[in-house]
Symmetry: C2
């Protein structure tokens, strides 16, 4: 086994392997892999795609090494409201680091953060957000940063649900990831979020190892400290893995075109276009946030996770659109 | 199976899986995985390391997802004399493209290439080489470039051996790659060579898929041509994956520290340092080119593949040094 999976999925994988050995068959699906998905067009399209590309006698058959599936993270695998969870992390870090930075009391955007005035923070635009990220994500070694993320995730709670952020992942998407992997897919994250913000927990939470996470990055430098080599995170943008950056990031990290792409916003448009423009059978899917009761409802006018052009393209190009309210009978793993 | 393996290794993998199922044991090694390695300190150290990290009862046991092994390419997995094979590719491309560039007859370094005057090309230093790379590696889509590399490799012959370049891979290293993978390792290339020059053939030749290849890169841009998305290679350096760049590239692409690193030159020093500085059992190995008859003999004074500091460090730090002449009973797969 290459991944740490939740125990149930792990046992399922073992059971599957045994069935394959005993029957000599490469196809063995003794159960519904997607129980949190209601019957309907979305679920049907997913299963039809997987059966098409994994059945050797079908025209759309794809050899296992080419079964690459890419997933956006924010709004696709976990929630992203009322702000990207990584921004919540950055704000918490500003508060934690404030005693070492008395000058922040007189300095925007830090003063607004310390006043708890989020609208004033956001009024600073992209430049303010980059300043916050650089002040809270740079200056440490890669290993120190990883530990900071892990500690934060273990204790921070979402303001509305009171749950840990890693409990706000989507159960139907966890099932989809496991279903694809059981069918020989290699699953990747391709996110606008920070690559080193995600890697400390994606293997535990999603079964996606660090080497299959693509994201935005800042530059690192190699140093020897008392003869011990370290990588130091510097306050300089290296790569923004969003919009047209997503196909570029995919090419850089994966080096072949995926056959399936999953997103939820206009930031995922180019990734899904690039994926579905390849030859043979391809699959594009958009998670449409339509459930204001169990999650949030937003699309064309949203500041965060705007879904406008990509929703139109989905219709034109025949991508699957998931209606969260109608298609999912469960949102978070801890929901009843 | 995730990788396309040579048929023999593939069958061995299946046999191993069956033994595991039948006996319930995670350790089953019914044969010598390294027949091209002579008995001696190098082979012994490799086997001892693998047994240590894969045996659950041992102090050095490492869980499978953390078994990351990184390999330099030029001079470690395939030969690199009398010039990096990628430079041979670039020179051939200059000749092939010359009819479309009459101005090259009067323009260095191209005129020197067309005159077949390699010393004059190399006299231009790094700047001349970068000009050659940009003129021959940029300006196409990623898919066009991949096809060009594949075509070249299928026909070009090495000037001394008369063999195809992909026949000049090291048989003992192919065995080592297969041995590590059979023991749950994930094998990566981390090379100063071009990432997109390697990816078209590493899966077929080494069993290493494109997503496990790290290398130097030029920038790409996303474009829509008649509505079809393409990635275009532009003449701008993106990343140099050599020396201190290697740990940085490892962090960027893999996101965790390897437990084993294999190289042959000072360009691999930081990679092996970074790998072996981690906690627990670690393994560093240097291929020392000592065989002027079957391959080449070079080290401290060589222009290509200089091995000087890293050879000293190997002694100090206890890395394994392979004496090619003494430790390998076969160099290339087609050798008798």
């Amino acid at each position: 086994m290459r991944y740490k999976l939740p125990a149930a999925a792990h046992m399922m994988g073992v059971a599957l392997a045994q069935i394959v050995v005993l029957t000599g068959s490469a196809v063995a699906q003794p159960r519904d892999w997607l129980p949190s998905w209601n019957a309907g067009a979305a679920k049907t399209s997913i299963v039809a795609f997987v059966e098409e590309v994994t059945t050797p006698s079908r025209a759309g058959f794809v050899s296992a090494p080419e079964r690459i599936a890419v997933f956006d993270n924010d709004g696709t695998l976990w929630a992203e409201q009322p702000m990207y969870f990584q921004l919540a992390f950055a704000l918490d870090r500003v508060r934690a680091l404030a005693p070492q930075h008395p000058e922040w009391r007189q300095q925007m955007p830090f003063s607004a953060v310390l006043d708890g005035d989020l609208p004033r923070v956001l009024a600073g635009g992209e430049r303010a957000l980059i300043e916050l990220v650089m002040a809270t994500h740079a200056g440490t070694t890669t290993e120190e940063f990883s530990a900071t993320v892990t500690d934060w995730l273990a204790s921070a709670k979402h303001p509305r649900t009171g749950r840990r952020y890693d409990e706000m992942v989507y159960q139907p998407m966890l099932e989809l990831l496991a279903y694809l992997r059981a069918n020989g897919f290699k699953t990747f994250i391709v996110s606008g979020g920070g690559i080193e913000f995600m890697r400390p927990w994606t293997e535990r939470v999603y079964g996606i190892p660090p080497e299959q996470v693509v994201g935005s990055s800042i530059k690192t430098e190699f140093e020897r400290r008392d003869g011990v080599p370290v990588l130091v995170r510097t306050p300089a943008v290296d790569f923004i893995d969003d919009k047209a950056g997503k196909p570029i990031g995919i090419n850089q990290h994966i080096g072949r075109r995926p056959i399936a792409a999953f997103g939820n916003s206009d930031g995922d448009l180019e990734m899904i276009e690039w994926t579905t423009a390849g030859s043979g059978v391809r699959f594009g899917l958009i998670v449409h946030h339509t459930d204001a009761d169990r999650e949030w409802a937003y699309d064309r006018q949203s500041e965060i996770g705007r879904l406008d052009k990509a929703l139109d393209e989905a219709t034109t190009k025949g991508w699957t659109v998931v209606d969260m309210r109608r298609d999912w009978n469960k949102v978070y793993p801890l929901d009843r």
